[in-house]
């Protein structure tokens, strides 16, 4: 039954959201708009003169080979990072979803990864993957595989960063999935197993679909973060070796604060913004087809 909303209903709705919207509007949206304006100017953040140059910054983008590399790397990174983190998170959450003694200790271990700062994460991984003295190469040597150069190899560095960030975000994925798993009704699973279905089949046909809302949430959240990867690159490879770990936000930061090209950096940020909107929109569309909500 459709009825028109009365004015007071609109008013109540707006009254409820106003405080939060005011804050997010002032500190979140206004800066974004300001940056949009900046992207139409030539600015180095130093001189107050920022002449209007229209679309010139945007026109430079297609010819920018390094930006193209950055896009490539960001997409490869995201395509690997998001599914890996979700898979690892799901597996660990399934393992943690047990009535085993001391389970809260194991759960705390998962949370700790969220709390440890990025710089420690970076230090540990730089050590683990160090070509001459690191544990990973020592392990490879022990099983007779050839040593790799890892972060010193332009072909491998990005994948080390994938590994590092998957580790860093696992805790978050575990928390989400763990809670979601606990909401899966046990009676459905029991009924299926009485009917003779195998554990994995139960998981595949019953449990996993019921986890789909969590999967969508994680896919969206992790993608938004992956497309804006910065800290781990800044703390380890600084976009190298030979630009192989240059991702969009790192390139943008370099343009703004090291090359003093703030207007151009803002234009790059807008391109990224459009990309993220499109990808998120697609995810929600696809999600609406496959996700089972409670109501």
């Amino acid at each position: 039954m459709v009825r028109r909303l009365s004015r007071s209903e609109h008013a109540v709705g707006w009254a409820f959201v106003s405080p939060a919207v005011l804050i997010i509007g002032i500190f979140g949206l206004l800066p974004i708009l300001w940056s949009l304006l900046l992207s139409f100017q030539k600015s180095d953040l130093l001189t107050p003169q920022t002449p209007w140059v229209g679309l010139q910054n945007y026109k430079q983008i297609p010819g920018d080979g390094t930006f193209r590399l950055a896009i490539e790397h960001t997409i490869i990174y995201t395509a690997l990072f998001v599914p890996c983190t979700m898979l690892v998170g799901l597996v660990i959450a399934a393992a943690l979803n047990r009535k085993v003694r001391g389970i809260s200790i194991y759960r705390t271990a998962a949370y700790v990864t969220m709390a440890v700062s990025t710089i420690n994460e970076a230090l540990v991984f730089m050590w683990l993957f160090e070509p001459s003295f690191g544990v990973v190469n020592a392990g490879l040597q022990a099983v007779g595989l050839p040593q790799q150069q890892w972060l010193s190899d332009p072909n491998e560095a990005l994948y080390v960063i994938v590994a590092m960030t998957v580790w860093g975000w696992t805790g978050f994925a575990v928390v989400i999935y763990l809670a979601a798993l606990q909401g899966v009704p046990q009676d459905l699973q029991d009924a299926a197993s009485i009917d003779g279905a195998k554990r994995f089949t139960i998981f595949r046909t019953i449990t996993f679909p019921l986890l789909s809302p969590a999967t969508l949430f994680l896919a969206v959240w992790l993608s938004i973060n992956a497309l804006q990867l910065f800290d781990e690159v800044y703390l380890t490879t600084r976009g190298g070796p030979l630009y192989s770990t240059t991702v969009i936000v790192y390139y943008l930061y370099d343009q703004a604060f090291q090359q003093f090209n703030a207007g151009y950096a803002a234009a790059l940020a807008y391109v990224l913004f459009m990309v993220i909107i499109v990808i998120t929109f697609i995810q929600f569309r696809v999600g609406n087809r496959f996700v089972h909500y409670n109501r």
């Binding site: 700790v112 928390v175 009704p185 809302p213 969590a214 409670n294």
Partner: protein
């Protein structure tokens, strides 16, 4: 759609583990230690490893930290590093500052995002979809880009509205993230799964919208609220770049800023830095520990379980 009320809501006060209980309880007592430990222990080791290295480094001497490959155990545990680190700068002050900032941000988010999230979930009003979309959009632009305009805005507020909101004051640290897209999005998802019949019944009884929110919905939402609290606390506690830009007085610094005392451009005192980091982690772990009871049970009904 389940026929009964969501199993994770009303009435659920015991352990947040699904009902394998009856079936397993007998087996559990007779079982040897679960084989799952064989899986969980290595996984936990991998997950905890960087934290372990942090603690080990914090107990070494400076000479011991300058080794490669690093030592895996502290040969002569230097507990004095903690005292030395705490004395190097007014860390207690920094911790108090961080705590105040984080608590205010958490409180603000809990209140503002609950109200807004409820509106997005249950109330209909013109422009709802658009406004929600705009809020989500704020997640999609990196901070490096918005940093300077945010600074200008805060400065303007300080000069033209109230000086406590301006640069180098508490308002500047607290206001920009007093409500976040994360809080709103997350709580909206959760509120969507609260049985609407309960709310409709209360409305019929004449309860106001606000009353429904506070008397019916929020009490059922403790898990989601504690999740938002824990994650928001974590973000606020670890925030570095924004405080770096807006704080100009040492006594106003927060903990992450204070820790850079140990990081010179060329020489970093790893043992002191790690001691400081461990010191910084402890409150967060405490918060997690407390929130954990609700935490795990929480997201269950955020519409994330189906």
């Amino acid at each position: 759609m389940t026929t009964s009320a969501s199993p994770t809501l009303a009435g659920r006060t015991e352990q947040p583990v699904p009902a394998e209980q009856d079936h397993d309880r007998r087996r559990f007592r007779l079982r040897r230690p679960s084989a799952w430990h064989l899986v969980l222990i290595p996984i936990s080791f991998i997950l905890l490893f960087p934290f372990y290295l942090m603690v080990v480094t914090s107990l070494q001497t400076e000479a011991q930290t300058r080794r490669f490959p690093p030592l895996l155990t502290p040969p002569t545990p230097q507990w004095s590093n903690y005292a030395e680190a705490l004395n190097a700068a007014p860390f207690v002050r920094f911790m108090v500052n961080s705590a105040v900032v984080a608590l205010i941000i958490v409180a603000g988010n809990l209140v503002l995002c609950s109200i807004a999230g409820y509106a997005f979930a249950r109330l209909r009003f013109a422009g709802r979809g658009l406004v929600f979309g705009l809020i989500m959009a704020t997640l999609m632009v990196p901070f490096q880009v918005t940093m300077i305009p945010e600074f200008l805005i805060v400065k303007w507020l300080g000069t033209n509205v109230w000086d406590q909101l301006g640069i180098d004051h508490l308002g500047a640290l607290v206001l920009p993230t007093l409500a976040t897209a994360f809080g709103i999005f997350f709580l909206r998802q959760f509120f969507l799964t609260v049985p609407i019949e309960l709310e409709e019944a209360a409305r019929m009884d004449g309860t106001s919208r606000l009353g429904v929110l506070f008397k019916i919905v929020l009490p059922l939402s403790l898990p989601a609220l504690s999740t938002v609290a824990a994650i928001t606390f974590l973000d606020a506690w670890n925030s570095f770049l924004w405080p770096l830009i807006v704080i100009n007085t040492e006594s106003h610094m927060t903990l992450p800023l204070g820790l850079t005392t140990f990081q010179g451009s060329h020489d970093t005192h790893w043992e002191l830095l790690m001691a400081g980091n461990v010191f910084s982690l402890v409150p967060m772990l405490l918060v997690f520990f407390v929130a954990q009871r609700y935490f795990v049970r929480s997201v269950a009904a955020t519409g994330l379980k189906g």
